[in-house]
Symmetry: C2
Subunit: 212 residues, 2 copies
DNA sequence: AGTCTTGTTTTTGTATCCAATGGGGCTCGG
DNA sequence: CCGAGCCCCATTGGATACAAAAACAAGACT
């Protein structure tokens, strides 16, 4: 059950319960998850490979810090990869893909127009749906290598201030661009899909840069 | 010394001493490298993260097989990432970068024109220099995220038949394209550099596809 | 008073041990 | 002769024990 520990730590990092720069001690996590240090170590090695934490030999592990410049870089590479994926998806997606995208989109719209009860919960839901939307397009590109490369960056990206990113205007913009993306995919227009995706991600980068 | 084991296994895979599809048993590797199973396990987890091996829970680990389609995918994504890197590098590289690239190029030319003694050794040397060349351009892009994403794919790519790829005509073509790349970078022409790099990598993909 | 040094303590990294599961081989039946 | 089912063993995954190294703290010296 090293997988369980891996997922748990990952979630703690993504949720911000383990803050960037925070020191990670194996024994602490082992006790928290009621396991021995062995699976915790394994999980940490995997997380280091995924770029979530940084292991320095004999010294310890910390949750990786990212400078604003690095965050920009991540979004730029994402723009490159995901726009290519969107272009491919426009030529390769089938009706089922489009239906699923539309379903996700509907859920996102419902989540925003619904009663704004617990702000944080809504934001978390939006974030999850947003991730699913992008993942779906990567999948529709029918290029697993491309999808993996992009997904890796997406995951890292999502740990960067999940909350600050989704202010109300941001959500509106995101919904709008997602609609355009669906339109581009529906009309099988690779160039359009590519351009919209690039604009979408670089726009997100920009508002993130403005916030930091 | 898990790092040592990691590097050792990695080298065995890259050199083909551990063939694709081959089963990996921790105890065997532990004995071979004169270590316990613990660091071997750690190394295997890292290798799985890098996409070199595939761990199936409770069952075992095998060196990952790649279909020709996957290989093509890898080269296509490499083309995408590395051409972008070359474009950035054209705008950002300094004299030192160019000098180092030229030095690598000289060594490659020397290695090919020199006495063709042990064919295999020469090919191995060319391969290492080629990798260094591409790595250098990634570095010159001044985008660590882009460089990492591309380097990951490059490493996987190099495990795919290091030998078959470098027949004589291939080497000649590679040298020629590298010269063009240096020319494009020297004249600070991003569009040219990008195009040459894309052509270079897609060309390699093509001859690899033809060989398989 | 500040800094270097030294001793202690926490924590990492490795080795060994144990349980549980999957695969291979053997046997039995058709 | 071939296939299905069962049993044993090899191998993985986890826990614990131990050694070594680094961080921290306290004290002495300049």
């Amino acid at each position: 059950m090293a997988d369980r520990v891996y997922e748990a730590i990952r979630r703690e990092i993504l949720d911000g319960r383990l803050a960037a720069g925070e020191k990670i001690t194996e024994a602490v996590l082992a006790e928290r998850f009621d396991a021995s240090r062995t699976p915790v170590r394994s999980a940490i090695v995997r997380l280091a490979g995924d770029g979530f934490v940084e292991m320095t030999p004999r010294s310890g592990t910390v949750v990786k810090r990212r400078t604003p410049a690095e965050v920009s870089e991540i979004y730029e590479v994402r723009a490159l990869l995901e726009s290519a994926a969107a272009g491919l998806a426009a030529g390769r997606c089938d009706e089922r893909d489009l239906d699923e995208l539309k379903a996700i989109q509907s859920e996102m719209e419902a989540a925003t127009t619904g009663p704004w009860q617990a702000e944080e919960e809504v934001v978390e839901r939006i974030s999850a749906l947003n991730q699913a939307f992008h993942q779906k397009i990567l999948e529709a590109s029918r290029n697993a290598t491309l999808a993996d490369s992009a997904a890796r960056l997406m995951n890292i990206g999502f740990l960067i201030n999940t909350y600050a990113r989704f202010s109300h205007p941001e959500i509106e913009r995101s919904l709008f661009e997602h609609r355009q993306l669906i339109a581009a995919l529906t009309s099988r227009d690779p160039a359009w899909a590519e351009a919209v995706m690039r604009a979408h991600i670089l726009g997100a980068r920009n508002s993130l840069a403005a916030a930091s």
